[in-house]
């Protein structure tokens, strides 16, 4: 029993083209099967019983009434978890279902399966859990002290990262300091956590789902379900956005447990309020900085203390804090650095991966500091940045040499040179262009314009020695006389366009115009996750390597068939000579033969950070972007209108220029969201705005025009010279907006998202 899955259209584009998306026709027709759309006959619906307390001891669970309700087939608790009762990406600290304690509001406690979604939901309300309510630990500063309750056996500090570079007692003529606070952002992918688990009748299970990494889900599920990995088969269904929210397990283990328990297919699909507790969020942070510089503006030292609130469970916190520290200074040369970064457990919602992954929080701080330093020195803020800009051959504060293009000064020059939007026209009232819009809150009085700049960077790919690789199988064969290439990987298409990019790479390497990408599943080797801006690099590299292996075999076959060894290549569905003449078509050469090759692609290894000094070659590649923001601020009401954004980014090589632009535009929107709109409001550990009515995501009215300058400088180490693209747009966009608000208002603005009272309070 298998649900209907996506059918990708064939792609004929090459690297550098922008062909239509392979999944596009189904998506515009409303026929693309997302994980929440799946259905098979006789399926049950799963529902989750969740904790109403951020911290409590479970005294008893009584499911008698729920089990007696019509249509209810099962109620499961932690006692029904067949294998490992805890899981986690880095540290196995999160219960599949709460055991003796709940550590955050909304934590999963029990599961219900029923024959109708509404019956399942109502039965979940009739599972009575007796809690002994405990006082939650919600202040990350308190979590560092002995006064805090111990939330996990190993202590409340999930990880402390220390970076010590150069002279630890360096002094400088000019010193500026500041403290900054970042709110908790939600990834808010539109598609809910959802999927369908189908028992195979032989003790195994097939799970159709939306995830960022099939194999890490599979491996965790095998342990939880106490099954060998081959009995847990995962297949990708349509993914309605991810942005980090689908790195951790949500409904996966629960649906599989219910399916294996009842022997029936079980679907789970979260509501939007449930989604807010169903995935991790961007870490809120408190960052304290001190910058020392010479009188002519050269950075002498940076000292920073970074504190991230990891919430109740570790998720990927240990890697996020490493990023927050490694890139704490920003893309600048700085000979001396002292960075201490903590990520701690609290009873707040768990935090983990979100686009930008630790580099977003610190960018707000280092860019605000650079503006403060420029003001203190009487320098132009862009000139100060240019003066300290990282370049090829510079060193990170971890000691690693920056290889490949690092065009920080050039990116700044480019955004600065772009034309500015016209000033507000005081003579012609257009409410739609005012802060507050058609709410008619101002006719221009009190409105001030500001311009701000920011630049940021982060790592592409996994860091600190984590084995980064991907696997691709490529098959070349003939259909109706014409060659077709099939590409099979486990890489997650989350909307970024990866399916199309894989096809473009295969089309380029094999010279064929009919490339079909199969659905991603665990029948092929791991691709790693669609995160860290890594998939085009790593899975793209694997597809390229597998195609090269197929091409080698085709050329060997051609030589044996034709009896000559002239230099030749594959192009236009044929083997052509160096002069471009067709030697033989692939249709004729291959006949019934199927040529299939599988390859793994591994970039060079990285290393762990030294625990005392943080010195290490911990990263693979860096991606840089700069932004300029223009805002109008109603300084009387504290309302902000972002008038325009401009960006310049080096993408190495644009494999699909249209998809690259989409990343720059969409990433900037999420940056704008954190800067002025988006925050998960938490009071005493409870989320107060778990809906799209109360958690505000930028709409088409909020997003200004974006000027773009895409550089293709070519990384000598990566496939086609490409660089990861997805995250940099979310890093410096928000800090540029906040810089512009500071410029408009003259206020320090040390917290994001910026709220009206941050602008108008006295």
């Amino acid at each position: 029993m298998k649900p209907r899955l996506a059918a990708h259209a064939a792609v004929s584009g090459r690297v550098g083209d922008s062909p239509r998306r392979a999944d596009g026709p189904q998506k515009v027709r409303g026929e693309f099967p997302y994980s929440s759309d799946l259905s098979v006959d006789g399926m049950l619906w799963g529902s989750t019983v969740r904790s109403p307390h951020p911290y409590a001891r479970i005294v008893a669970i009584d499911a008698t009434e729920a089990l007696a309700m019509p249509g209810v087939l099962a109620v499961l608790t932690h006692q029904d978890v067949p294998g490992s009762k805890v899981y986690g990406l880095e540290i196995q600290d999160q219960p599949v279902l709460a055991i003796d304690l709940v550590r955050y509001w909304g934590e999963a406690v029990a599961l219900v399966a029923a024959d109708h979604p509404e019956r399942a939901r109502r039965a979940a309300e009739k599972v009575f859990v007796d809690y002994e309510v405990l006082k939650p630990l919600t202040d990350p500063e308190l979590a560092l002290t002995d006064a805090a309750p111990l939330l996990h056996a190993g202590g409340n500090i999930t990880r402390l990262v220390k970076i010590r570079r150069g002279d630890q007692s360096a002094r400088a003529d000019m010193v500026v300091s500041g403290e900054f606070e970042i709110g908790m952002q939600d990834q808010a992918p539109l598609g809910p956590e959802s999927g369908l688990a189908v028992p195979d009748g032989a003790g195994g299970v097939d799970l159709y789902l939306a995830t960022q990494w099939l194999h890490v889900d599979r491996d965790q599920l095998a342990e939880i379900l106490a099954l060998p990995p081959q009995k847990v088969r995962l297949t990708m269904a349509g993914v309605g956005g991810a942005f980090g929210a689908r790195e951790d397990l949500s409904m996966q283990a629960h649906a599989c447990m219910l399916a294996l328990h009842t022997g029936r297919p079980v679907k789970m699909s979260y509501s939007r309020p449930e989604s807010f507790v169903g995935h991790v969020h961007r870490h809120p942070g408190k960052l304290k900085y001190e910058h020392g510089a010479t009188r002519d503006g050269k950075l002498v030292y940076v000292k920073a203390r970074v504190l991230l609130d990891g919430g109740a469970y570790a998720s990927s916190s240990t890697a996020v804090i490493a990023n927050a520290c490694c890139f704490a200074v920003g893309p600048y040369e700085c000979p001396n650095a002292t960075i201490d970064g903590w990520v701690v457990y609290t009873n707040n919602p768990p935090c983990g991966a979100m686009r930008g992954f630790g580099s977003v929080q610190n960018c707000y701080a280092h860019e605000a500091q650079m503006d403060r330093l420029a003001a203190a020195l009487g320098m132009d803020p862009v000139e100060l940045r240019r003066l300290n800009a990282m370049r090829t051959g510079s060193h990170l504060i971890t000691g690693q040499t920056v290889e490949g293009p690092a065009p920080v000064a050039e990116l700044l020059d480019r955004v600065k040179k772009m034309p500015l939007p016209p000033p507000l026209d005081a003579g012609r009232l257009d409410l739609t262009q005012m802060p507050g819009g058609v709410s008619n809150t101002t006719h221009g009085e009190g409105v001030r314009r500001g311009v701000g700049y920011a630049v940021g960077f982060k790592n592409v790919g996994y860091s600190e020695g984590f084995d980064d690789y991907s696997t691709a199988t490529v098959r070349l064969f003939v259909v109706s006389g014409r060659p077709r290439a099939e590409v099979h990987t486990a890489a997650a298409e989350v909307g970024q366009g990866l399916v199309t990019v894989q096809a473009q790479i295969a089309g380029t390497e094999l010279g064929v115009s009919d490339v079909v990408v199969l659905e991603a599943d665990t029948q092929v080797g791991s691709a790693g996750s669609s995160s860290a801006s890594r998939q085009t690099y790593i899975t793209g590299g694997a597809v390229k390597a597998a195609c090269e292996a197929v091409r080698d075999r085709v050329l060997v076959l051609a030589r044996s068939e034709l009896g000559r060894s002239a230099a030749a290549r594959l192009e236009g569905d044929a083997i052509v000579s160096a002069a471009g003449e067709v030697i033989i078509t692939l249709g004729t050469l291959l006949g019934d033969e199927v040529i299939e090759e599988t390859r793994e692609f591994r970039p060079r290894r990285t290393r762990r950070l030294d625990p005392e000094t943080g010195q290490s070659d911990a990263h693979l590649q860096y991606a840089f972007a700069a932004h300029r923001a223009v805002v109008d601020v109603d300084t009387e009401l504290g309302l902000v209108k972002v008038v325009e954004l401009a960006t310049a980014q080096d993408v190495g090589r644009a494999i699909n220029p249209q998809a690259v632009e989409g990343q720059l535009e969409g990433g900037a929107a999420q940056g704008l969201g954190l800067a002025v709109m988006e925050e998960i409001q938490i009071k005493d550990g409870v989320i107060r705005n778990a809906s799209f009515t109360d958690y505000l995501i930028p709409t088409i009215l909020d997003m200004p025009p974006l000027r773009m300058d895409v550089l293709e400088l070519g990384d000598p180490h990566s496939p086609y010279g490409l660089k990861g693209v997805g995250e940099p747009p979310t890093i410096s966009s928000g800090p540029a907006i906040v810089a512009a608000i500071r410029a408009a208002t003259g206020r320090p603005i040390t917290r994001v998202p910026v709220r009206p009272h941050d602008i108008v309070s006295t």
């Binding site: 596009g24 515009v28 993914v239 309605g240 249209q658 535009e665």
Partner: protein, 182 residues
């Protein structure tokens, strides 16, 4: 509960519908039309935009029972053949589709906009689509797609639509019960 209505030009009957079910769940769970999406189910994101008697509504805010005897058109009703509707074609060509979860709602809302205003200004586009959240694209390519579709949309009378779409009335004050997007 049993609901009989016209969907995309065809008479359809949904059986055994829970009384509290929204039009969105009737479409998705009973009529096998999952093109209308369930992103917020609160009328905030527009992913479930459909026509009800020619009026653009969020299907999640319409009670299923309200559709009894009425005409519904969903994203699945836009392309009558293998050929995409110009709005669908434009979204694809302009790169306005990433994860695509908002796309069905935006395609329907854009269809409604261009039916009312064949050559909208950027501000009219922004205003008309302000009820449709997209988390991936930052909206720039959606605006491009609307402009592109406006160039290609045939005159109103020859729109390749079925059922309700053939005579799209302008929204009327108070018409159609709950769920109106404007």
């Amino acid at each position: 509960m049993r609901i009989a209505c016209t969907v995309n030009g065809r008479a359809r009957v949904a059986q055994d519908v829970w009384e509290g079910a929204s039009l969105l769940s009737v479409l998705r769970e009973h009529l096998d039309l999952s093109g209308s999406k369930n992103a917020c189910e609160q009328g905030e994101c527009g992913s479930c935009s459909v026509y009800l008697d020619g009026q653009l509504v969020c299907a999640c805010l319409v009670l299923g029972a309200q559709a009894q005897g009425r005409e519904v058109m969903t994203v699945e009703g836009l392309a009558v053949t293998d050929i995409l509707h110009p709005v669908q074609e434009a979204f694809l060509e302009a790169g306005a589709v990433q994860c695509g979860f908002c796309t069905p709602g935006l395609v329907v809302a854009t269809h409604d906009l261009l039916t009312r205003l064949p050559q909208p200004t950027i501000m009219e586009i922004r205003e008309a689509l302000a009820g449709n959240i997209c988390r991936c694209t930052g909206y720039a390519k959606i605006i491009d797609a609307v402009h592109l579709a406006a160039k290609r949309m045939p005159p109103k009378r020859s729109l390749p639509l079925q059922g309700a779409g053939n005579s799209l009335p302008l929204p009327e004050e108070g018409a159609g019960g709950g769920g109106a997007k404007r």
